[in-house]
Each structure stands twice: as C-alpha cells, then as structure tokens.
Symmetry: C2
Subunit: 315 residues, 2 copies
C-alpha cells in the first residue's frame, strides 16, 4: 500500500506544482445561475443549497483537476446546510478522487480516545476512497486535547495510507493568542506541537524524507514558517493564507526543499470566486466563472514556480 | 429572548440535579435487539447503523428526560456513519429538545473567521430549535486557533440565546501535553484560555452570575478543577470524566457554588451501557437496558446530591 506522503509527492511531481485548491462554497458568492437552477430543482432551501454547492464544486474540480495535485474541501460550509450538506460533501470528495485528485478534508477534528477513532474512521479513507464515508486522503486535526489524542489518527494513517495535517501555526490574525504561549526556556506552544508532529511523522512509516503526518502553518507568518520548516524536516506542510488572506509566494518560499517538495500551498476564495475579483471580473465576469477560476489557478501556479523552489518541479 | 445560561439554570433547578447524560452510540455496545431490527429494516449498513443509533438515543432520551436537565450527543459517532449519521444526529437533537431537554452538541469545532461562523450557524440554534440544522442549545468549541476564532460563536450565542463550552482542561491522560505549557510567570496555557473564556462570559450578556460562554474542565484533574472554578467565576462548567473515566463525585464537588449551580457533570458510557457493567448486568441484563440506564442515572443523581453542593438543589 502506498503511503499518503508517497502518493502526494507523486501527484505534486505529476502536476509539477504544489498548488492546492480549497473548495469553499459560500452561498452568497456562488454564480447566480447555479443558485437559480438549484432553486428550481428543489423547494427545500437546504436541498437547493446543497445541490448548488455540489454543482459548483464538481465544476470547479473539472477546471482544476488537470492543473493541481490536490483539493481541500472546507467541511464547515457543508455542515452549515445540515445532512443535505453532508451528502454533498461526501459526493464532492468522491468526485475529486475519481478525477485523480488528492483530497484533504479540512474539518479540524479532534477528540479523545475512541471518539478520535470515530472521527478518523469517518474521514480517513486513505488509498481506497471507499474505506470511509467521507473518503478523503487526509484530514486536518486540532491538537489542543493533547498528544495522546493524535494517536488514533496516526494509527489509521499507517493502516490505510492516509495523512493528517495537525494545526501548528494558523493563518488568522489572533493565532498567536494561545499558539505563542512561551515557556521559561523560550519554547512556544506551536513549537512544542511542531516537535510532537515531527516525531510522529518520522515514525509514521519507513521514510527518510517526508512522513504522512503533516502540519498546518500559515503563509501570513513567513518568519515562523521558515523556522518551522527547519524544525520539522520530515513533516509535509499545508500552507493556508496565500492570496485572499494576504500571503504571497515570497512568504511561502522557505517552506520548500531544494526539489520544490515538502509543502502544498492553498488558495480558496482567490480561485473559487476569481470572477468577483478586480483582476478577473472584467475579462471573464460571472458567466465565465470557470475560465476565471482556471486563469487564477494558472496564475498561482506560475507565481509559485517563479518565486519559490517549486519552480524546480517544472524542469 | 432567554439566554442559554438562564435556560440552563432553570432546567437544573427544575430537575434538581446537574447531571448531564452523554449520548455515545457505539455500534459494538448497542443492545443486540436494536441492531438486529435495524438490520432487518435496511440492507445498507450505514442506514441500518444510523437507524439503530437513532432508536437507541431516542429510547435513552425517553428514559432520562424526566430525570436530568440536559443531554450531550457526541457528534463523532454519528459522523462515522457518513450522511446517514448526520440525519440521525439532527433528529436526535430535535427529539431531545422536544422532550424538554437542553441539548449540548459535543463536536469540538473550531476554525477561523467566516468558517467559524458557518460552524456556529450549523449547530447553535439557541432558544428556537429550528434556527439551525443541528438545532442544539450549545456546542463544544476548541480554542487552539486563537481568541479571535471564538468571536463568531460568541456573537451567535448572544443573538440566539445559545451557549458554547470552550475546551480548557480536558479529561484525557495526555491533556497536559499542550494544555500545561507554562510561561515564565507560571501561567499555564489552560489558565490563559480560562482567562479569555471568563472575559467572554462576563461580556456575553447582562448577567451578574453565569454567562453563556462555558468551559470544559475534566473531573480527572480535581485540583485544577477547583482552581479553575475560582479563576472563572462567571463561567458555567461542563465536566466530563465522571464515571467510566474514573472521576467521582468528590472530584467534582469544587465545581459548584453554594446553591449547587455553576456546573453540569457528564456521564456517557456509564449510563448508555449500564446494562453491561458489573453493577447492573445481573439485575437488569440486556433486555432491560433502559431500566439499567435509568438506575445508573438515578445513582449518579444521588451520588452528586450526597457528595457535592448540588444536594442543595433538592432542598
């Protein structure tokens, strides 16, 4: 069985880019035609919204599948619709995988003992997409409850060729309020979490390079990102905060090794709703929202290639 | 509109106990008759398991609704079944509320900005059970991402009379690995989180006693529990770890004020699967699993009344 890290590296090399496209279906931002046709099909508002989310994500997957190695659906937007949204999330994950994409479900789960096992079994399908109801390759996980609560996720990663990305240093303005808590030796909480993740990734498989236990580190704190890359040499990084949140390619350059591996960089809003942005609105507009998303994805790929070691992937 | 804290206090006084019953449907523990009849109804395994979870929880709600103020369904067990499980979770929450119970959905959600808003809208119905697809009164929330990520939840609590319980000091053996991270002044991470929660609860409504922003503090660390009660005088506590996890009534006594308010104490496995425990197996057995759950609930109520200030509620 191929590990998550091996499969991810293969996908990155195949597509020659570490660009990760987040799927953030937000009802008020969706193209109006998708919303209108979903409303015609379903009287029930939640069913109509879920149908619109599914159509939007499937069409976005069709746009990005030839271009990028992976997608990251955001579970919260689907959950907001209730069970109809869960159906749409499961289908979107499955469709993404059927189109050859790695799927990282961004659900930031975490709990203790057998409860954590239940979350792991819900989302971590690993190599076989049918091994879990939400058949993702990987899941984002919150570490607050403690190192023992990561173990059930790590176990399933080993068994199924799945991966997790543990929150280490997040991209939001207030991320330091707890993550920067500093002990008497100068060790910050996020560094302590990073050290645990590094150990887990070394042990998660027989690998001299990256393991399958990753870390989420925001592009919005570039100095910490560089330090964390050094601190966690075996840990694959998932980097949010590029694009709409303010991070640029220069901010994420330090996340990569000399081959351009070791990190994937996420953009969600900047691609999903590119047709609403000043850069693409005039050229494409809402009717050509897919062309706008494609152009924004290509621009991101080019930006990462030109300004980070990920350019080596295109050699 | 009545706040969460006012409604919870009313429920505690009405039922004269702070006992909280967790709903943890675990397939391998369910009474075999419930599993068999669900399997007869549905060929699809996930549909059958979801139907069994729903029946088990609904019957457990019927047992405990006359006895306790609140229930706490554990989202992970439902999510493990995929969308069928989500349907069951939404129905169980709604049924609990229809039977006059406060419902705290234990999903430990947390994310940044508008994503946190989506989670809040998914679960925090507040006073009107129909205001959210998973129509809970309150939700457990993870603080790792930072104080700014709690704000969207707090806002919805204010608007809808809902509540949250922020993870502060959890009940698992490894909870200290990150939560005990100690700064140069001696302040532990969980104390820093506690200070933020205290401020949020003071500001969450016009209240001189408890606010609607609560904290999860495990019964398994009784010294810390007592200290945290003092440190967060306006914060209602949710205390896991009683019963199956090893905490007893003496361990949780310090969580209450002189009137017996300020905390709710959870038991899940010890009540759900009382019929499997040495204390009840012989008297009741699997066929009388509901009678065993009722006896275990009454025993917990009596234990809390005899050994904590919650006994005052029965005066």
């Amino acid at each position: 069985m191929a590990s998550f890290s091996a499969r991810l590296d293969h996908a990155i090399r195949s597509k020659k880019t570490p660009a990760l496209v987040g799927l953030d279906p937000r009802w008020d931002q969706l193209p109006s035609k998708i919303k209108a046709s979903a409303r015609e099909m379903y009287d029930d508002p939640a069913a109509a919204m879920a149908a619109a989310f599914e159509e939007f994500c499937v069409r976005l997957i069709d746009v990005v599948a030839p271009l990028v190695p992976a997608i990251k659906p955001q579970a919260a937007f689907f959950e907001e619709l209730g069970p109809d949204g869960s159906v749409a999330l499961a289908r979107v994950i499955r469709y993404g995988r059927s189109q050859g994409l790695m799927v990282i479900c961004d659900a930031k789960r975490g709990d203790i003992g057998t409860t954590a096992e239940a979350y792991a079994r819900a989302y971590l399908a690993g190599e076989d997409p049918h091994a879990a109801p939400y058949g993702a390759d990987a899941l984002t996980v919150s570490p607050y409850l403690g190192d023992d609560t990561l173990a059930p996720f790590v176990k399933l990663c080993d068994e199924r060729g799945a991966g997790i990305y543990v929150l280490v240093r997040t991209s939001n303005p207030g991320s330091g309020s707890f993550q920067n808590h500093t002990d008497a030796t100068g060790l910050k909480l996020y560094e302590g979490v990073a050290d645990v993740v590094e150990k887990l990734s070394i042990h998660s498989e027989n690998s001299t390079s990256y393991g399958s236990i990753g870390a989420v580190v925001g592009a919005t704190y570039p100095r910490e990102l560089g330090e964390l890359r050094q601190r966690m040499p075996h840990v694959p990084l998932l980097i949010p905060g590029y694009g709409a949140q303010g991070g640029n390619a220069g901010d994420v350059a330090a996340a990569f090794d000399a081959e351009g591996l070791g990190a994937i960089v996420n953009s969600s809003r900047g691609i999903n709703f590119a047709f609403r942005s000043p850069a693409y609105a005039e050229t494409f507009g809402e009717k050509q929202w897919e062309a706008a998303a494609e152009a924004a994805t290509k621009a991101m790929i080019a930006d990462l290639a030109a300004n980070t070691p990920a350019g080596r992937l295109q050699d």
